[in-house]
């Protein structure tokens, strides 16, 4: 056992927890914004150390190949978002949309969300994981409503109600999993420890597991934003502060998906249980196709990219539902690329909305002329998210489509149709936003472009060359997922 590694699990939980408490009381926006970045940086470094020194699982915490990908990705995007947030929040304070009191609250909640997400990821106990996801929901609800406009409150309320129902269903599923495990493992804490569940899952009652999975998929699926449980997602993205949109799309959806994947693995070891794949494939495909058709009619720029998140979560769920080493690998790659790209897009959109003073697509035009750097960053981001070569998402989508073609051509055709419609809709909108006659007000902002370009560079690099260590790591995870 390695002592240093145990500390890393503790630090990725304790540092954000302590900073949340500290940021809640400290005044001054420059100081707190920097502290927020510092806390995120230290957390990211300790998360990175988990790659090299991995602790042994105990009844509460577990770090394996699977959640390590999520932990590193989550804390990396959290770090870059905190850098973006610092410049974004400065503008919001100046324009008076946020007051200093609410800013303290915002920073505290940002770190509290980090605690909740890290806890959900490292939890080895399905009850603890549930509690963590519940707290993550709570913190994001509070942040979505932070502007206190009628629309923001309405969005927060909708998110709250749907999210609460979702996690209630997930809890019922969790209880059913415990009931299935209890006759085999015995009463008490052991029967909720995931490592115990997975090793002895073959002996569980398949009927109970089936029912549990339906509840868990619907429950956590609400948080993933799968159609028809997605209604909260566009509102929450559009009305909250943009850094939160980036964190929601880039991270929280993944965390919920991670929970679904854990239970999928559990069902996979039980031969009598239903195959979870077809359920996930169906929900993923419906989400993809629905979202791509919805993309076309959006008039609000943040709302449009929120629908694009539904689309991509659909693709990822589809890939994991297909299963097998290749599709799982592609799904994992796609998830990573989507997180990086979508948060980069939201960084750009956040600055664009500040420059133009509006989120309405009709009032934004000719960005590449008026604000060249922002405009081209957005173009690059959309090119990446639409899946054009040679960027990372092209590679993962190509892998998903080709592995599906080999196994089920009919599904692959639906998938390709969805992807193409999404691509077309995105470019029609992008054309109006980035090119053509300059429309709307335009002021310069001293935005920080570093996070945006860091993400896009990573996505570009991944499209051209994947380091062999990363490939081996992802292949291990793909094998784990079965």
């Amino acid at each position: 056992m390695n002592r240093g590694s145990f500390d890393a699990v503790a630090t990725i939980l304790l540092i954000p927890a302590c900073s949340a408490a500290l940021l809640a009381v400290l005044p001054g926006y420059r100081l707190t914004a920097r502290l927020n970045i510092l806390a995120a940086l230290v957390t990211f470094l300790s998360a990175l150390s988990l790659v090299f020194y991995r602790p042994h699982p105990n009844p509460y915490f577990l770090v394996d190949d699977l959640n390590n990908v999520f932990i590193v990705l989550t804390n990396f995007v959290a770090l870059t978002t905190s850098v973006f947030s610092a410049s974004y929040i400065g503008h919001e304070l100046k324009s008076g949309r946020l007051t200093p009191t609410y800013l303290r609250f915002y920073h505290a909640m940002y770190q509290a969300l980090m605690v909740a997400m890290n806890l959900a990821l490292v939890a080895n106990n399905i009850g603890l994981m549930w509690v963590a996801i519940e707290f993550a929901t709570l913190t994001t609800v509070l942040m979505v409503g932070i502007y206190r406009t009628h629309e923001a409150l309405e969005a927060a309320w909708k998110y709250f109600i749907l999210g609460s129902v979702g996690i209630a269903l997930a809890l019922f599923g969790t209880i059913l999993v415990y009931l299935a495990a209890q006759p085999v493992i015995g009463e008490g804490l052991d029967a909720m420890v995931w490592t115990n569940l997975i090793t002895r899952g073959a002996a569980f009652d398949p009927a109970l597991l089936n029912l549990a999975f339906v509840f868990l998929l619907l429950g956590y699926g609400t948080k993933v934003g799968l159609v028809p449980l997605h209604a909260w997602l566009p509102d929450a993205h559009a009305e909250g502060p943009t850094p939160i949109s980036a964190v929601l799309s880039g991270l929280l959806l993944n965390v919920a998906l991670y929970a679904v994947l854990r239970f999928k693995m559990l069902l996979a070891v039980n031969l009598g249980a239903l195959a979870p794949g077809p359920l996930m494939v169906t929900m993923g495909l419906i989400s993809l196709i629905f979202a791509t058709f919805m993309l076309y009619r959006r008039r609000d720029i943040k709302r449009m990219f929120a629908y694009s998140s539904i689309e991509h979560m659909g693709i990822i769920t589809f890939a994991f539902g297909m299963g097998g080493p290749l599709a799982n690998f592609a799904g994992l790659l796609h998830m990573t690329m989507h997180s990086l790209t979508k948060s980069a897009i939201f960084f750009a959109v956040g600055h664009i909305a500040q420059v133009k003073g509006t989120q309405k697509i009709a009032d934004i035009g000719g960005l590449t002329e008026t604000n060249a750097r922002l405009g081209w960053a957005l173009v690059l981001g959309v090119v990446a998210i639409a899946g054009l070569p040679p960027l990372g998402i092209f590679m993962s989508e190509f892998l998903i489509v080709s592995s599906t073609f080999a196994r089920n051509p009919a599904l692959a055709i639906l998938l390709v149709i969805g992807l193409l419609v999404g691509l077309a809709a995105m470019f029609i909108r992008l054309n109006a936003i980035a090119f053509g006659e300059p429309r709307g007000a335009s002021t310069e902002t001293e935005g920080s472009y570093m996070p945006m370009f860091a993400h896009l560079t990573l996505v570009f690099a991944a499209g051209v060359y994947l380091p062999p260590q990363l490939v081996i790591w992802f292949q291990n995870v793909a094998r784990l997922l079965g």
């Binding site: 009628h150 309320w157 129902v165 209630a168 109970l208």
Partner: protein, 220 residues
């Protein structure tokens, strides 16, 4: 003795389902609040009884949370919110009472069929507890769907939560039940404070589609 233990647990869980039905057709907010307080009281009794028969003292904490927090504090504060907002008038239900009750009966039948079949091998006490718990959860969902007022939606959500607590305590020796019920209570407290602070009166005050479009940011 075994028979009596089983019967009392059964009666309490069954009463919870009945009270859920009572909630479904209350068309005044005050009455709805009172019925919800009764719901929480029955839950507290049921959990306390489970604590006694399972010899699990930590469940008494869950029972007292249900009693103090849900049966007293929440109804009283919601009562004050209703007075403050002046919304103690009739609340609309979608589809009418008769239809809602029929749907409720259908949901209970569904949960009986599903749960009793799936848990065929388990302890009869656990089986029936779970079947009742799923009924309470589904009835709570039905209530959230049929109501538009924020306060009655919260009550619907808390009924769902009561059903989950019933399920969690019925599952013998389930760990973290207390933690989960505390986490839920925090969630509910936030919701209630949220309603109070943000004055969320109605979900959509109007059926005017233009207002909805404005809310979606999709106008013009």
């Amino acid at each position: 003795m075994r028979g009596l233990v089983f019967d009392i647990a059964h009666v309490l869980a069954g009463t919870l389902v009945l009270v859920s039905f009572l909630e479904l057709y209350q068309d005044r907010l005050y009455a709805l609040l009172n019925v919800f307080a009764l719901h929480a009281l029955v839950l507290a009794l049921s959990v306390a009884w489970q604590a006694y028969i399972q010899n699990a003292p930590h469940l008494y904490i869950t029972a007292s949370i249900a009693l103090v927090f849900k049966a007293i504090i929440i109804p009283v504060s919601l009562h004050r919110i209703i007075v403050l907002f002046g919304i103690h008038r009739e609340i609309e239900t979608v589809g009418g009472v008769g239809l809602t009750m029929l749907a409720g009966i259908g949901l209970v039948a569904l949960s009986m069929v599903v749960m009793l079949r799936v848990t065929a091998g388990d302890d009869p006490l656990t089986r029936e507890d779970l079947a009742f718990a799923l009924s309470v959860v589904l009835l709570g969902l039905l209530m959230m769907v049929t109501r538009r007022n924020a306060v009655s939606q919260v009550i619907g959500f808390m009924s769902i939560e009561n059903g989950l607590v019933l399920a969690a305590t019925g599952a013998k020796g389930m760990p973290l039940v207390v933690e989960i019920s505390v986490a839920f209570s925090i969630l509910v407290a936030f919701i209630v404070v949220g309603i109070f602070l943000f004055r969320i009166r109605e979900r959509f005050d109007t059926v005017d589609l233009r207002a909805l479009d404005r809310f979606r940011g999709e106008q013009g």
